[in-house]
């Protein structure tokens, strides 16, 4: 290991610009002549639009244009789509009602855009927006998915009777029922997985620009996957052919899934720029982000675990209702199905599983992938059940898990729900976590807390996730509309520096550093001489972007493959330069050697020769510039154990997290510092979900009550403890780097671990978020029951 190669905690390249204010986020970009766009949005959750009068607004000072849904429809362009078809129990694909880019005759959520005002300044656009007269006819709204699927609920889309999008299942129903009938014990839990707002700190933004000479549209936008945005806006919206549409995602201030999706707002901005032949910039205000960013989670689940008399799992049965909001976001349907139910086997050898999921529409913001996407929901179900069952059965929760783990001798392990785990050692992570938290002395710590009038609890989450998304053929067979490979291009410059073009996109993950370490390791190029380029469809080859903890496992493997091609070509050049046979050339760390001799040449010399090919092997093309595409052979399966320890103040219901141990198996690690940072951030979001964050809609009016940081509790520095992070390693078997992905693990493990700790402390089940009042009430009712 070198100090900048694989395995080193190299300090990040990108920090210099971010700490000096030189980052370049979308809103930082100023295009000559740019006007400002502002969306007038529906104040109603559900209403018919009887008419829109824009006359006064158009005449207001500084107004460039007031554009409505009718204008958009008249131009004949398409709308955002959902790119994953889920086939239900009835053998038919899910119902996908249209999602108008700008509302035409109906609004279905608070925040639906009804007009786009373009003006010289934001203030002037807002002044004019107040002059737009919209005649709404209010309709009854429904926000809760159980309410929406009940008979008599307000009908949101004519295309979706009963607000049902699909009724889908997975697994063996008959075998599972049989297992339950043979069970010695059945543990049942009803769980709500609370709706979250992703809240990347940079709000979404877009600048559309049209060049009438080249007829090219450029869209600067906050995207995790600019090529996918280009594909959708080109192929489905039809604003411009792909070769005339350039999407640039510059520095992006966090995504967590919310910037994967192709939203109506960005489409409308690009359209307006083209229509007005003038750059148009729109930046969401935070309150707008609350209404229009795709939310996460929002499941209601009944889960049952059947066990035998020895505490071995016989089967798992799950029924989930998933809230999609008013419209289907880009990958909405995949989240509560193939990213959720396929993970229900957890780390356990469960002979049979049956899960049913009903997805439906409500008058709320769309719901799609948010950090973990389906996998946190699955882990929450499995790990809350495991903890509950262990307590019911009187078995130590660590022992109960261990008894049911898939053994190290069982890999590759075929679960009953599609996935095939390649490798893992779940006992190793559990053991290390138990040791780190000093599990043996928990009883003493608990007694000490009780003496101080506090209730102490400990909770586990032994999670698994499917990352490195994903083998294209596999996801295609499950309904994905795209392949999920990744691209890379590794280009030597004549003087030996390297520029890497990657289809992955970094919005906090530190790719510029991690990928450079990979290059440094494979090609022996100094760290400082490596540049990573991403985020511009005109510069980088088509790529699928960053989500699902895929960048290193898929994008990194593509880079490694391109490096192999570079080395292979380099060997031919080196052989020629050293007058040796290609087969006699050995390559290591940037040096080509003739086997058995002291003759050698460096990668830099080879690169120079490739660009100044005065003395060059016959039949070899000049240049040193190789591309690779990598389509993964399987998902990767990061897994581990998190243990949370809490103290509850019974007087107020306040939960104090007193210790947190995370032991994760991410396979090989390139930059431990960055990996640890990802774990911290993931846990923080998971703690946010369990303790603080919850989207609250008014059940009658459909208004978002938690629509700003005044009411949506974001985790702050003083809400969180320090996390103690440990690693185990079973290298992934099917990518050459042996890596699995680390970005989502914390958010997947944390909610279950924390809720298990809290329920352990208070002795009863509550739903997330475990607000102070909820915890206090639980403690009160337990105390009353005891008296």
């Amino acid at each position: 290991m070198t100090d900048t190669g694989i395995g080193a905690s190299v300090r990040r390249k990108e920090d210099r610009r971010f700490t000096t204010g030189k980052g370049r986020y979308t809103d930082d970009i100023h295009r000559p002549g740019q006007a400002i766009g502002y969306f007038l949005r529906s104040p109603h959750a559900h209403a018919n639009i009887k008419g829109i009068d824009t006359t006064a607004a158009k005449a207001a000072p500084g107004v460039v244009a007031v554009l409505t849904g009718a204008d958009y429809a008249a131009d004949g362009f398409g709308n955002p789509i959902c790119g994953w078809t889920v086939t239900g129990k009835n053998g038919e694909g899910h119902i996908a009602p249209p999602h108008p880019t700008i509302a035409v005759d109906k609004v279905r959520q608070v925040g639906d855009a009804v007009a786009l005002i373009v003006a010289e300044t934001l203030d002037k656009a807002k002044d004019a927006a107040e002059l737009v007269e919209v005649d709404y006819e209010e309709l009854p709204a429904v926000v809760n998915i159980a309410d929406a699927l009940a008979s008599g609920a307000p009908q949101i889309h004519a295309e979706a009777p009963g607000n049902l999008c699909f009724d889908w299942d997975i697994g063996d129903k008959a075998a599972t029922e049989k297992a339950f009938s043979a069970a010695a014990h059945v543990t049942t839990l009803e769980l709500v997985n609370n709706r979250l707002v992703p809240n990347a700190m940079e709000p979404r933004a877009a600048i559309g620009e049209y060049d009438s000479g080249s007829e090219e549209i450029t869209l600067y936008t906050t995207s995790q996957n600019p090529h996918v945005a280009r594909l959708v806006i080109s192929a489905f919206v039809g604003l411009a052919p792909e070769n005339k549409l350039r999407v640039i995602a510059p520095d992006v201030g966090g995504g967590f899934g919310s910037k994967i999706f192709i939203y109506p707002d960005e489409i409308a901005v690009a359209w307006a720029a083209r229509k007005l032949d003038r750059p148009v910039k729109w930046t969401a205000e935070r309150s707008e982000s609350f209404l229009t960013d795709a939310h996460g989670r929002d499941h209601i689940t009944k889960a049952e675990l059947a066990t035998d008399k020895d505490g071995r799992i016989l089967g798992l049965r799950v029924a989930t209702l998933a809230n999609f909001g008013a419209y289907l976001s880009t990958f909405a349907t995949a989240v509560p199905t193939y990213l959720y139910a396929t993970l229900l086997s957890g780390q356990y050898a469960i002979p049979t599983i049956y899960a049913e999921v009903k997805g439906g529409f409500t008058n709320t913001s769309p719901v799609d992938a948010y950090r973990g996407a389906g996998r946190p929901e699955a882990t929450y179900v499995v790990e809350r059940l495991m903890e509950r069952a262990a307590r019911d059965l009187g078995i130590d929760p660590a022992e109960f898990r261990r008894r049911n783990f898939i053994g190290t001798d069982q890999f590759p392990y075929q679960t009953p729900v599609i996935l095939n785990y390649d490798i893992g050692d779940y006992g190793a992570s559990l053991d290390k976590a138990l040791e780190m938290i000093d599990y043996g002395n928990f009883a003493g710590r608990r007694a000490a807390s009780e003496r101080n009038g506090k209730h102490r609890g400990i909770g586990f989450a032994a999670y698994i996730e499917a990352c490195g998304i994903a083998p294209s053929a596999a996801v295609g067979s499950l309904g994905a509309g795209v392949g999920l490979w990744e691209s890379a291009q590794v280009r030597f410059n004549p003087t030996g520096s390297v520029t890497v073009f990657t289809g992955s996109h970094s919005h906090g993950q530190g790719h510029e550093t991690t990928f450079a370490q990979l290059i440094c390791d494979r090609l022996g190029v100094p760290f400082e001489s490596i540049e990573i380029v991403h985020g511009d469809t005109k510069e980088v080859p088509f790529g699928m972007g960053t989500y699902g903890s895929r960048s290193l496992a898929v994008g990194g493997t593509a880079i490694a493959k391109a490096c192999t091609k570079i080395v292979d070509k380099g060997k031919k050049i080196a052989a020629h330069l050293m007058e040796a046979a290609v087969d006699d050339i050995e390559y290591k760390s940037g040096v080509f050697k003739v086997a058995g001799t002291d003759r050698q040449t460096t990668m830099a010399e080879v690169a120079f020769a490739a660009y100044v090919p005065h003395n060059f092997p016959e039949g070899v093309e000049p240049g040193l510039n190789e591309s690779a595409f990598y389509d993964p052979l399987n998902f990767t399966f990061p897994a581990g154990t998190h243990i949370a320890e809490v103290e509850v103040d019974p007087a107020t219901g306040t939960v104090d997290i007193v210790d947190w141990v995370a032991v994760d198996d991410f396979g090989n690690v390139i930059n431990p510092m960055i990996v640890e940072g990802q774990v911290h951030g993931g846990i923080a979001q998971g703690i946010g979900q369990a303790l603080l964050e919850g989207c609250v809609y008014d059940r009658e009016t459909g208004q978002l009550l938690s629509g700003s940081y005044m009411d949506y509790a974001m985790p702050r520095a003083d809400d969180l403890p320090n996390f103690r992070v440990g690693l185990t390693n079973t290298p992934c078997t099917h990518n050459e780097l042996g890596v699995k992905g680390c970005g989502e693990a914390g958010a997947i493990a944390a909610p279950a671990a924390l809720m298990n700790a809290i329920t352990d402390a208070i002795g009863s089940e509550i739903d997330m978020p475990a607000t102070q009042e909820k915890v206090w009430r639980a403690v009160q009712s337990r105390r009353m029951a005891a008296e």
């Binding site: 002044d127 609250v696 938690s706 509790a713 102070q772």
Partner: protein, 263 residues
């Protein structure tokens, strides 16, 4: 924000002359500017008090701490005089908003706004402070008249607040987990005139709890209020806490405030 004219007078008299019509005073702006940004207020003129030096400052005058209306929360929190005379007041000021809000937000602005979840009104009422304006002096008991309502007249500007130094005082705040405003804040003071218990956050405005004050008069200790039940009637109820929970927290916070006051 809607469009407005901006004035920055150099004296209180100057400021008063600018008032009238839809003019509004700007103190620290930490509530007012967000309100303007949301277009929830439409003043035609903003009169910025930030240029009036005479409105800032902290002085100990006899048995009172007198703080200028434009004194920032951060200055009160960091003041050695305040820390010595009324440490509970310094602590309260140091817990308002966050450091950046405390660097801008002012005593006068907070008091004039009378947000039902603000901290300062509890201190004024709890200490039996008096509000001095360009026209008169108003006792805290008469000043806070309702939610976002005060006894201030249209052309009246708070100049200073006079806090009598208590024998002991304590403040305990249970913060809203999102906004960090007081879900419940209780200020308890033992003064020559008796014990005062003032509550913010829990109701539509700051209020005193007579039953607690009576119970504490003879026995200034947390245990003394065990028998006092706080009714949930009329208390606030929202997603962060029901009226019943707030009522319960009033007692818990009162006990913590008493303990902080050495009781």
């Amino acid at each position: 924000m809607y469009s407005f004219d901006y004035h920055r007078p150099r004296s209180v008299d100057d400021a008063v002359r600018q008032l009238g019509g839809e003019a509004k005073l700007l103190a620290g702006g930490q509530t007012f500017i967000p309100t303007l940004k949301q277009r929830l207020a439409q003043p035609d003129k903003i009169v910025d008090l930030g240029g009036i030096a005479e409105l800032s400052g902290i002085k100990v005058e006899g048995d009172a701490v007198v703080i200028g209306a434009m004194t920032r929360h951060g200055a009160v929190a960091a003041s050695a005089e305040v820390a010595k005379a009324i440490p509970a007041l310094a602590k309260l000021a140091g817990g308002i908003g966050d450091p950046q809000v405390r660097n801008m937000g002012t005593l006068g602005g907070s008091v004039a706004n009378n947000d039902p979840a603000a901290d300062y009104p509890a201190a004024l009422l709890g200490l039996g402070a008096s509000v001095e304006t360009n026209k008169r002096t108003v006792a805290a008991d008469d000043f806070f008249t309702g939610m976002f309502e005060t006894a201030l007249g249209e052309d009246e500007i708070i100049t200073r607040v006079r806090f009598p130094v208590p024998q002991a005082a304590g403040y305990a705040k249970f913060a809203n987990p999102a906004s960090r405003y007081a879900l419940v804040g209780v200020f308890v003071a033992r003064t020559p005139g008796g014990v005062r218990v003032a509550v913010t956050g829990a109701g539509p405005g700051v209020f005193r709890i007579g039953a607690m004050e009576t119970a504490l008069a003879g026995n200034f200790s947390a245990g003394a209020i065990d028998g006092v039940s706080v009714s949930a009637d009329g208390l606030n109820s929202d997603m962060h806490g029901s009226a019943e929970y707030r009522a319960h927290l009033v007692t818990v916070m009162a006990k913590r405030a008493i303990a902080a006051a050495g009781g």
